[in-house]
Symmetry: C3
Subunit: 352 residues, 3 copies
């Protein structure tokens, strides 16, 4: 699936600085690329590698192109342009149309003739599989499930009854969509299960990583809008609503009835408490706890970075004794010359 | 599976304020419910929706019933009563008795004639599947496994050799029970695997979410008592013992040899260090680290809620320099008038 | 598979204090072991149980052996010696050579005649399964995968195209290796998927727990060196490199392009930010965030242990107001007798 630099420049709207007849076969890193491989430079961290690259060409911005010793494909957004070129050079193999003899498709399910249903997959009754969709090996598609055109369940994906998945979605192995939400009513020291009668509706162009779980709604549906990207091992509680084009990194936990706005970026292992709302364009850095609604776009954090363990233990002790330290400061203020009259006395720390 | 309000009131011991002949078909939210749907009000957060509901009836407490514009089913515990009614209105479809032709049941396994074993499931030798139990599609049940009456493995559940599951349990897809614990002995810079020869014993009325993992014991068994509720993506280390009716939210990690008391509630993504004990009725709020045993019932926390990232970075810096701030306060106390004679001087912060 | 104490002492190089003819059938805890069972003592926490043990023998060090009321197998490393003896007493059942009739092995795949491929497993074309390897039930092995001699995929493991696994590896159920990394390029408020064209190379003697995920590299491969031990529910991002004999506890999240040195120990639920490097022999305690590279061996931490929730809320408030407290201390210093002349004034806290 190779292409010449000239073809790539035209197709992807790049300015080419170099020989248009050079053939590119695949992509590689700046450090490893050879004369028929394409590299890219987007993260300034890797700029030092540019000087010694042997790539056939590099996708980069015009500022970096000046110091590029090899051919340049100049783009206003090198990372996105590189991604699009890489998808052309490394196409996902087309799965053949048809249903594998070991796949079980229920009577009453509709599988588009152009779709692929792989070995040991199961498709339940009244489900619909769209054109060119791929149901990978060992996938379980429950009853009344809809999978849109060109969506791909890589393998071993579980979609329980009633789940809807849009077009061009990509779901990685081990992911479970539509499991019961964690709905429990306390009753005299025990728990009564609350039936989870909603479902999950997922838009188009959504990617979902491996071993992620998305619970069905208790009453209304759990909703994932178009273009959302979920990494591996994410837990999405029931009735959650995630706005379009938000991206959640690995191991994020979203409690029930949480509303996440559009274009949010949630760092790895962040936890979101339930029944709260995040505005559009909110960024949460890794391992933070979101305990309250956030109404303004911006970047939010709450994790401490690791330091020497003995020093950290001292800090934990100091922090726990902050009340005492504050009391000592207050006592000093009381005894100090001019106590109570300074401007700082108004900024009392003792009112909680 | 509908019912009249009169039937529901009698069966679930509610006081009915409204027309007993009204037919209810299903449950819905206060906001979405129509005249043949039942809503409930338990969380005060949703009380404002009561005024405009069009539900056929609402399950609520007597205090709220006064301001309910539609029929009321009055209950001392509206959430639990609602849950029980919803289970009647939305019954889990009964799986037909029998073993699917593609399921593999080993010689020497005993499957009750009323049980259901679905497509591509595997049941190993010397295992016992109880009456009306459901072994969903793609489940793997190892050897010498016991599954009690009326328990249900939804689909794609893995129960490894020797695991015991009680009655009326519900296990969601992707969950693995009985995998080896993380037992390693260090030996000159490498690790020697410690065989994990215990198993997992799970009581009755236990629900386990999707993609949760419960390791088998190293020597003794890992034990989950009756009525425990585990959410998705929980990790339970080997030799853990979880007391009856405790509930663990998603993404909790329990290290090995941890003992959790009865009726504990563990918030999402909490981490419990190993070889410690939690008393009965302990509540841990989300994303806390439990590093020591807790001997008294109560609520425990250790996570900071996220705030503006720049402000947070300042706080991280301030916190790391708490030693210096405390030294400065001490120096002030030394120099202050009457230093050393005030009551606060006895509450020194410098003794760790 | 029993053995006499004399046989065990010779085979494992222990000093035997006791009757060499006593037969040992299996291992058990100090508390539970009977006269034909072997216990061990490595953790001083369990030393009090030694006085009342009824074990046939105990593996322990010479210091503890003096107070052992039963037979001793004295070892310089009791835990490792115990582990090796337990592996002999409790061997993993040998899977019979051959391919189950329901397994699907592609034309062009090479399965060693001594290997075992279990029910409903799939092996893709151009893959190689080594001698005595076990591909458990429901495993999916993609195309061009290499699995070394004596490696064992317990069941329901997913190895995607091109993954390489060394010899004597052990992989537990639900684990996914070779799923796409989370590579996204932002483009005008949406995301462009970056093709993940690298793979995953795993060395020998690696153990990987249940429901763990290891992403394939974006360009270069994700690499796990020999002897690495990964617990359950770990997430390994693309391009990660984990050095030999490092051990990661459950629920750890490793972001992309992270380099972890040799013999590191990463506690449960630790998060590692991306594009950073950990030196050899680094220990991170549970639930810490590693946000920067660590260049020196040692122990590092950043998590607070949980305390009473009301007290914790006060501490959160105090911590957030540390700027104010520092300002008040500064004001006191300005007003104090001899202000500015003391040694502590040089250790200003206000320079960030």
């Amino acid at each position: 699936m190779g292409a010449t630099l000239g073809e790539l420049a035209v197709r992807f709207g790049c300015e080419l600085r170099g020989d248009p007849s050079v053939r590119i076969d695949r992509v590689a890193t700046l450090a490893a690329a050879g004369p028929h491989e394409l590299a890219f430079l987007a993260n300034p961290r890797y700029r030092p590698q540019l000087a010694t690259t042997h790539a056939g060409a590099v996708v980069l911005d015009s500022a970096s192109a000046a110091s590029n010793p090899v051919a340049s494909l100049v783009s206003g957004n090198p990372h996105a342009t590189y991604a699009r070129i890489a998808a052309v050079l490394h196409p996902v193999p087309q799965a053949p149309a048809g249903v594998h003899p070991t796949a079980l498709v229920a009577t009453g399910a509709h599988v588009d003739p152009s779709a692929h249903v792989a070995a040991y997959a199961i498709v339940g009754k009244d489900s619909r599989i769209g054109a060119r969709a791929v149901i990978g090996a060992h996938c379980i598609v429950g009853e009344r499930v809809t999978i849109g055109d060109d969506s791909r369940l890589v393998a071993r994906v579980t979609l329980l009854d009633g789940v809807t998945l849009g077009e061009r979605c990509l779901v990685h192995p081990g992911t479970v969509i539509g499991s019961d939400g964690f709905g429990l009513a306390p009753d005299r020291g025990t728990w009564v299960k609350v039936p989870q009668v909603g479902s999950v509706r997922i838009g188009s162009d959504v990617e979902i990583g491996a071993n992620t779980t998305i619970d069905r709604g208790a009453l209304d549906d759990t909703i994932i809008e178009d273009g959302v990207k979920l990494d591996n091992q994410i837990q999405i509680g029931h009735n959650t609503h995630i706005g379009a084009h938000s991206a959640l990194a690995g191991c994020v936990g979203v409690s029930g009835s949480t509303v996440i706005g559009k274009r949010c970026m949630i760092g790895g292992a962040v936890g979101l408490a339930g029944h709260l709302t995040l505005a559009d364009d909110v960024v949460i850095t890794g391992m933070s706890l979101v305990a309250h609604s956030i109404t303004e776009p911006g970047v939010y954090s709450s994790a401490f970075p690791a330091i020497d363990a003995r020093l950290w233990r001292r800090i934990v002790g100091r922090t726990r004794r902050l009340d005492i330290l504050a009391d000592r400061v207050k006592a000093l203020e009381t005894r100090a010359p001019g106590a109570g009259s300074g401007p700082d006395a108004k900024r009392s720390d003792d009112d909680d």
